[in-house]
């Protein structure tokens, strides 16, 4: 079965070994009311390194050094540390740029073209990740939109933009050291 979106996604993985970009995350309630929840920037360097910086309306960071994923919130003074292979629900970056190939962690289905994008549906093989499905819209060889519906009629939409390949990053880009006063909890 032809799946143009999945083919585009595999080409994206091949073509972009390191890149930066911007995101905007919206929540859409059951009644179709859309509010912008947060926005920021991301970076990744395969295999396995990524960072997802929420900048507005608050600061929040998810960063993976390839071994562990740190979820840090300065307001909550909290850093949760998970092994990379248990972080699929930690941020969109884990799905899009994580080391675990999309086909390994998800069952992939083709969806009809919509809004000018080619779509695929990814259903996590790990059911308890709190996520039942993720739709990924591809445009011009890059992921442009994620749609995550949950069983309460809530949809989260994440728009990605200005994805630019990078040759390399400084060594501390994907390192994280919690500021003093932060509770660091390692979760197996």
């Amino acid at each position: 079965v032809a799946n143009p979106a999945a083919d585009q996604f595999r080409q994206f993985v091949e073509a972009f070994s390191a890149a930066t970009g911007q995101f905007e995350q919206y929540t859409v309630t059951g009644q179709g009311q859309t509010t912008r929840a947060q926005s920021g920037s991301f970076a990744f360097e395969r295999p396995g390194k990524f960072r997802w910086d929420v900048e507005q309306p608050y600061a929040q960071l998810v960063v993976s050094d390839g071994r562990s994923v740190f979820q840090y919130d300065p307001d909550l003074r909290q850093a949760t540390v998970r092994p990379v292979d248990q972080s699929i629900g930690s941020s969109p970056a884990a799905i899009l740029f994580g080391d675990v190939a999309l086909d390994d962690a998800f069952n992939i289905e083709a969806l009809p073209e919509q809004d000018g994008m080619e779509w695929l549906r990814a259903i996590p093989e790990q059911p308890d990740s709190g996520l039942n499905q993720v739709d990924i819209g591809m445009f011009e060889g890059k992921p442009a939109r994620l749609l995550l519906r949950d069983s309460f009629g809530q949809t989260t939409r994440i728009d990605l933009s200005r994805i630019r390949a990078q040759s390399s990053f400084s060594s501390d880009t994907f390192e994280f050291s919690p500021p003093t006063g932060t509770d660091v909890v390692r979760v197996q």
Partner: protein, 186 residues
């Protein structure tokens, strides 16, 4: 699939933001869940949604007089007289979630279990103890504290729940912004 109908009530007091629930016990793997929350309160009840980092609903609590219903994707619906009995599933301890109806407004429940209440210079509650839980309020706006910490030890487990409010809606006026004072309660 919501067995409990989406509450038609017009919520009079809404707070949404981020939370972390941290459970640390010796001899057990630590647990720490970070995500978003949405609190909607009406005259006779309230609804609390706990959301994952991707915006997916992890759990929904619906409280009406005498009964609280807990819905979690992939689990069957459960109900109990109080929310704290139900959240033991989520947080591994009976965190006093029922008191949020007062605490999110900076109010204290008027009964003997509330002890050592401390106030700031403007007479607002900044900390209290209740049923073995230490509660701290901070960053007040016109409608209540925007930062709250509830911590306690239960069955050998240290449980900390922190909540920070990002957007507030009080009936009659709505304020969707990051930091900074929300509109005063009309």
């Amino acid at each position: 699939c919501a067995s409990h109908p989406e509450p038609g009530f017009v919520s009079q007091f809404e707070r949404s933001g981020r939370f972390v629930a941290q459970v640390v016990a010796s001899g057990e793997p630590a647990e720490s869940v970070q995500g978003g929350f949405r609190w909607r309160q009406a005259e006779y009840g309230w609804q609390l949604d706990l959301l994952g980092p991707l915006g997916n609903t992890l759990a929904r609590l619906d409280a009406s007089p005498g009964v609280v219903v807990l819905q979690r994707p992939g689990n069957e619906t459960r109900s109990a007289p109080t929310a704290s009995a139900l959240v033991a599933d989520l947080f591994g301890a009976q965190v006093p979630v029922d008191a949020l109806a007062d605490w999110l407004r900076g109010h204290i429940q008027d009964d003997a279990r509330v002890q050592n209440v401390q106030y700031d210079e403007q007479g607002r509650v900044v900390s209290l103890r209740q049923d073995g839980w230490q509660v701290r309020f901070d960053r007040y706006d016109g409608a209540g504290p925007r930062l709250m910490e509830i911590s306690g030890v239960e069955l050998g487990r240290t449980v900390i729940l922190r909540m920070v409010v990002d957007s507030a809606h009080v009936s009659g006026s709505s304020r969707e912004d990051g930091h900074g004072p929300a509109s005063t309660v009309s």
